[in-house]
């Protein structure tokens, strides 16, 4: 008898917390989603965001929705894509949520019908460029910067805009020779995406590439390797590096500096979508909503240091903060199939060929 009472009491408390968990402004029936999510008990995420950066989000999410565990799988962008398509083909279990900075690969999966359509209650607060068909959502706001070594590059040697670069390279050819680093666009998907965005935004793009080629750039597969070499002085300037990484790195290595180019600053956004074949779709919805919510975005901005995509979250490196300092020169890469152009093999190889020629100085 006593046990029955205890069980009932426990049930009552539980329903109370469930009710309390429906965030303000969400539809009333959201409680059903929460309840279903609790039943699922977990959400499986494949993510390219470092575990270290994601940990505050995971902790806060679990505080908000106790009883739902987060299986967070940190891997690189290609890995996410490979795993998802092969696991889908094999018919085994895969991720519920995919979260990756390889915007084009994410869009490709979405475009091929891999995503669950979900009208998140948070959509109202999202900029339109960051949402595709209620399937894919841009979750962060990460400007792309020039990163340099403060000890070795000073004063007017520091480029302030893309347009500055060819002039600087010409003026200080010896200084920059073999000391400029950027992505190896053949090895890095992100690097490729950024450079193709450059080609759209920089009116003198191919001249810029030739100028880059003239200083014998060092190509790396990742921003981390570039940063390591800039920090050590082996290279002195890195192009197309996430400013957020530079900010993070600055904390350990005060020798790192960065510039958000004045003529245009590309902005990358990590794309998240829910798998159509998700085993835990409700928990996945909860996670997605949480990431897009003001609460989640505030943590993204303040603790994960990735920059909030929402305009109602304040901060220097968020959409709202950067709009004040850079204004119209911000160029967010849209979460839309238009960025898929270069996933077409012929076009991609054509672009790469042109890139190689220009790096070598040819037309």
């Amino acid at each position: 008898m006593i046990r029955t009472w205890a069980a009932l009491a426990a049930f009552a408390t539980l329903s109370a917390t469930v009710a309390a968990q429906v965030p303000a402004g969400y539809p009333a029936n959201y409680a059903d989603v929460v309840a279903a999510a609790k039943k699922e008990g977990k959400v499986v995420i494949y993510s390219a965001t470092d575990t270290v950066a994601a940990t505050p989000l995971i902790k806060d999410f679990q505080a908000a929705f106790p009883g739902i565990s987060v299986e967070y799988n940190d891997m690189n962008t290609t890995e996410i894509y490979n795993r998802f398509i092969s696991e889908k083909a094999a018919g085994g279990g895969s991720a519920d949520v995919l979260w990756s900075s390889a915007m084009d690969l994410q869009l490709k999966l979405v475009n091929e019908g891999g995503a669950l359509t979900y009208e998140s209650p948070e959509l109202k607060a999202m900029p339109s460029w960051a949402v595709f068909r209620n399937e894919a959502f841009g979750t962060t706001y990460e400007p792309i910067a020039f990163v340099y070594n403060k000890r070795l590059l000073t004063g007017d040697e520091i480029p302030q805009s893309h347009a500055d670069l060819p002039k600087l390279f010409a003026a200080h050819a010896d200084k920059f020779k073999g000391k400029v680093t950027t992505y190896d666009v053949e090895k890095s998907g992100v690097g490729f995406l950024l450079i193709t965005q450059d080609s759209k935004n920089n009116p003198a793009f191919w001249d810029f590439v030739r100028a880059l080629g003239s200083v014998g750039p060092r190509f790396q597969s990742s921003s981390g390797t570039m940063m390591e070499r800039i920090g050590s002085g082996e290279n002195i300037l890195g192009l197309n590096i996430f400013a957020s990484y530079a900010v993070l790195r600055q904390k350990k290595d005060p020798g790192i500096g960065y510039v958000l180019p004045k003529d245009y600053t590309l902005v990358m956004s990590r794309v998240m979508f829910i798998s159509k074949t998700a085993k835990n779709p409700n928990a996945a919805k909860l996670w997605t909503d949480y990431i897009l919510s003001k609460r989640g975005q505030t943590i993204i901005a303040d603790q994960a240091l990735l920059g909030s995509v929402r305009t109602d979250v304040e901060g220097e490196m968020t959409a709202s903060g950067l709009a004040k300092t850079l204004g119209a020169s911000l160029r967010p890469i849209p979460v839309s199939p238009e960025i898929l152009t270069y996933l077409d093999q012929t076009k991609r190889l054509e672009f790469l060929k042109q890139w190689q020629t220009a790096i070598k100085g040819g037309k």
């Binding site: 270290v52 085994g92 690969l105 070795l152 790396q220 597969s221 390591e228 082996e234 350990k252 996933l343």
Partner: protein
Amino acid sequence: MKRIPLPRLAVILVMATAVLTPLALIVYQSLLSAPFFDPNKKLGFGAFAFIFADPDFWDALRNSFVIAAGMAIIAVPLGAILAFLMVRTDLPGRRWIEPLLLVPVFVSPMVLAFGYVVSAGPVGFYSVWAKSLFGGVPWNVYSLTAIAVIAGLTHVPHVYLYSSSALRSLGSDVEEAARMAGASPFAVARDVSLPMVMPALLFSGVLVFFLGFEIFGLPLVLGDPEGHLVLATYLYKLTNKLGTPSYHLMAAVAVCIVALTIPLVLLQRHLLRNAGKYVTVKGKAGRQRLLPLGTWRWPATAVLVLWLVVTVVVPLSGIALRSVVSSWGEGVVLSEVLTLDHFREVWDQPTLLRGILNTIVIGVVGGALAVACYTAIGLATHRRPDGWSRFVDYLVLVPRAIPGLLAGLAFLWVFLFVPFLSPLRTTIFSVWLAYSVVWLAYGMRLVSSSLLQVGPELEEAARSAGATRGQVNRHVTLPLIRYGLLAAWLLVFLIFEREYSTGVYLLAPGTEVIGSLLVSLWGTGAADIVAALSLINVALVAVGLAVALRFGVKLHD
């Protein structure tokens, strides 16, 4: 036809499946136009057409040849000289130098390569020092030459192992006969010792040349800044070149690598058999009088120490230093940036901790299981010179020809698409299976050399006393080789601790091992953690080596 016993058949069939499935998958995949699980795939030679039209492929192929040849040219003479110095002369300090000679075999090339970047890169610790001494850095670790030289130096132990064991088993009587005929020590070395260990030298030369086509870690780390590709890194690059993964292209490259390495493996086999005819006439290995080096001991010691410094001390000290500083390079005062944060960070990340734990488990438990499997295979062919044994002999060589990177990918496919295996994919078992298959030839060599030491008459005596083959194995053979198996376990442990490329594509939550984490973390550029993990990896290997030496395991045969 004679029926073969069920356990033997089972062992051989399981092994054949484990070895041939990945290879078949790779070959099949290379003939498709898309991933093999893609419904839109088509059969054809498109993948080969693509890579043959890609200038990068030819570039990588040429570089691979240059590196492989360079490695052989550097490693063979140096390995032979070191072997001669260690086995036949009174070089001071031989006892404690010997284990050091083998360090490069057991340290992941990723670790070494990263060590070279931080210690001898353009602004590396030693480079900055050299700059202050000579006003410039007289080397460039990113050049193709440097990669070939480093690869050559790190493969010296392979040559050393083969030539020192050849020298040891070379009866001293043939050398004494030459001295009696009036030959000076130098003439003895030139006219007798060298020609007689020539088969071993040729064998190890082919081995090193062939390993040259598979090196991955060194060019991955050192080849990037100047864009030097080799076949294995070209293959890795294809993961992204087309934006989406191009399994068919990667498989095509793998088939090309296999097509290059299989003839080399067969050549090795042939050389080994030819070497046998010298063995039959070797005399009794008597007590040898070591060759007094006299004043030559100084240049000899210098060669040895220089090699050790360049191959072991420089990279490992670089890694060690990098793991305790937050930044480095020109203008950084190291004493101001000392920190233990990187280790703390490793400690804070469950993935990395799991990786370390997995690495230990795969070495200790996995190593034991692998040795058990190798022993089962060894016993299945032991003293049974029939068609099945020859079949196994050739099978053992197959995984050697496949680069670890690709074998790992093939195993990922196997674990994805074989229903009863798929639940095991995200467990360390998948990595263990891939490791065990990739290192099959190595392990089998260890096991069969122990098996061969058991006198056949001991087994025959048991059989004539009425024991079945199974009982002979259990009661006579296995107890007799147990120390050999323990030694094999330690050596497999060391190799499993070091392995890095095989786990790359199998890397998933649950299957992390330090080796593949290093590749993956290097990809994201987390150099701090790479350094800390590398140091932990080196520490694990050092513990293994220390245990091996403590128990007097012969690190070679």
